[in-house]
């Protein structure tokens, strides 16, 4: 057994924490804010007491939308738009595939997606060296 994730985990019928509805309400308000002021919101799901069942329920309620992005930087990250445009499900994992962050982001596109100017600069320099 080399990784924690290799241990088979069966979901017991864990009780719900009743945090699902308030959370969906928060997403609703954040979406409204995005429309009216352009302000983006990030919700750290690991800072709220949620059972695995809650997480599954929230995921179910939001559904899977049109866009799926995988990023490989310090381990894989999965970024999926939900069925509600502008509401993204974001999961970061480390190089052992262990979860390091789980967020709902309410934004046109999560910050981590677009290429950063510093990396573009770095890429240009590498290309220059190769072509010159």
């Amino acid at each position: 057994m080399s990784h924690l994730t290799d241990i088979p985990v069966a979901l017991e019928n864990l009780p719900s924490t009743h945090n699902v509805t308030p959370l969906l309400n928060e997403v609703r308000h954040a979406l409204q804010a995005l429309l009216t002021t352009g302000e983006a919101t990030q919700i750290d799901l690991r800072s709220i007491p949620l059972s695995d069942r809650d997480v599954a329920q929230i995921q179910d309620a939001l559904g899977v939308g049109e866009v799926e992005i995988q990023i490989n930087a310090l381990g894989p990250s999965m970024i999926k738009e939900t069925t509600f445009a502008g509401v993204w499900w974001v999961e970061h994992r480390n190089s052992s595939n262990e979860l390091t962050g789980r967020y709902i982001e309410i934004t046109p596109v999560p910050d981590i997606v677009p290429s950063a100017m510093s990396d573009i600069q770095d890429g240009l320099e590498r290309l220059n060296r190769r072509v010159e």
């Binding site: 924490t17 052992s96 262990e98 979860l99």
Partner: protein, 367 residues
């Protein structure tokens, strides 16, 4: 020439070939580690970009190495582990390759080069009885090493319940006269990170906080409020059952199977302040209560002498009724009251030093 030590955290990460996306991910994990909201990520990114890599001297005294184990096991290749790559761990009894004179030399060099700026991390308590003879390293007592090393430090981080509160070595009758770091160090800021062991991300979170925004805000026991600000009970997913008066009575009854509250099985969640219920263990997999066992209060002073782990803090006497509103109100009031009561009871048990045998445990579980 810039040596690795002169690099800022941002530069150190870039020289390891980490992209901006990787850096942002690192900052998100750091925010989460520091229990800060995601909106603080840009500020963390800016601060980490500029922060100098601190020199850290790690001293291990009377301890079981569980704290170092907690940290290194779950961290090897993880993002949080990078915090440890960006600090300059100049001396660590257990992890360093050097030994003997070379190891002590490394400690002295780090102290001289970073005078007034280095961080001292301590795990384990310090024996002071009989001149401190019960634990020595390189011919020096733990007490001498601590005094010498702390003299030029910026701050001291006491990792684990032994360093923070004395821990198991200080358990009655405390044969070695074990004391905590804060009982000896009075002229430097001391941050306590108790737990037996502490949650690894809390250790790296405090170091990250020191790097970015300086020392974190502490509670009256010297613990960072961000991680020890709420009780296990207040963040426990079994809390709705407590509030309704639904308790497991044994570890295998119907209530236990349905995931009811573990209060009557000795859960110390109501008097214990720690981040287990949200940060969880094994990289967020689960925590003791989720695995069906009550909290034993490992991040509180005297937890080792506070009576049986399987003894209920106090019988919940609230009149649990069927209407949700009333039940919740009664539960909330009981929560606050039993908190107070239990603290007294803990103290009392500590004073009486009730001896616990395996037999007692059996009895307590089944009674």
């Amino acid at each position: 020439m810039t040596t690795r030590k002169d690099l800022t955290v941002g530069e150190a990460l870039r020289t390891q070939g980490i992209s901006r996306r990787g850096f942002l991910k690192f900052c998100a994990a750091t925010a989460s580690m520091m229990a800060l909201p995601p909106s603080s990520i840009p500020a963390i990114a800016a601060a980490l970009e500029k922060a100098r890599r601190p020199s850290v001297i790690w001293l291990s005294f009377q301890e079981c190495t569980g704290c170092t184990e907690s940290l290194t096991r779950s961290h090897a290749p993880s993002i949080e582990g990078l915090i440890f790559n960006v600090i300059s761990l100049d001396y660590h009894h257990t992890l360093q390759a050097a030994s003997g004179d070379a190891a002590e030399e490394a400690r002295h060099t780090a102290m001289k080069e970073n005078d007034g700026k280095y961080i001292v991390v301590v795990d384990g308590s310090i024996p002071v009885k009989d001149g401190g003879v019960y634990s020595t390293i390189a011919g020096m007592t733990n007490l001498e090493i601590l005094k010498e090393t702390v003299a030029g430090a910026a701050a001291v981080i006491a990792v684990g319940s032994c360093a923070a509160f004395g821990g198991l070595p200080a358990a009655n009758p405390n044969p070695t006269g074990a004391v905590s770091v804060s009982e000896l160090v009075k002229d430097k800021p001391v941050v306590n990170i108790p737990g037996c062991p502490p949650i690894p991300v809390v250790i790296s979170g405090v170091i990250a906080h020191f790097l970015t925004f300086g020392l974190p805000e502490l509670d009256n026991l010297g613990r960072p409020k961000a991680f020890y600000g709420t009780s296990i009970h207040d963040r426990c997913y079994r809390r709705p059952f407590y509030d309704k008066g639904l308790f497991a009575e044994t570890f295998d009854d119907e209530g236990a199977k349905k995931g009811w509250c573990l209060y009557k099985l000795g859960c110390k969640g109501p008097t214990t302040y720690n981040a287990c219920a949200t940060m969880k263990w094994n990289n967020g997999t689960s925590f003791p209560i989720e695995a069906g066992h009550g909290c034993i209060g490992c991040s509180e002073p005297q937890f080792w002498d506070a009576g049986g782990f399987y003894k209920a803090l106090a019988e919940p006497t609230g009149n649990f009724t069927t209407t949700a509103g009333v039940a919740v109100a009664a539960g909330a009031a009981l929560g606050a009251a039993s908190g107070l009561l239990n603290r007294n009871k803990q103290k009392q048990a500590g004073a009486e030093h009730e001896t616990v045998t395996a037999d007692n445990l059996e009895k307590e579980q089944t009674s």
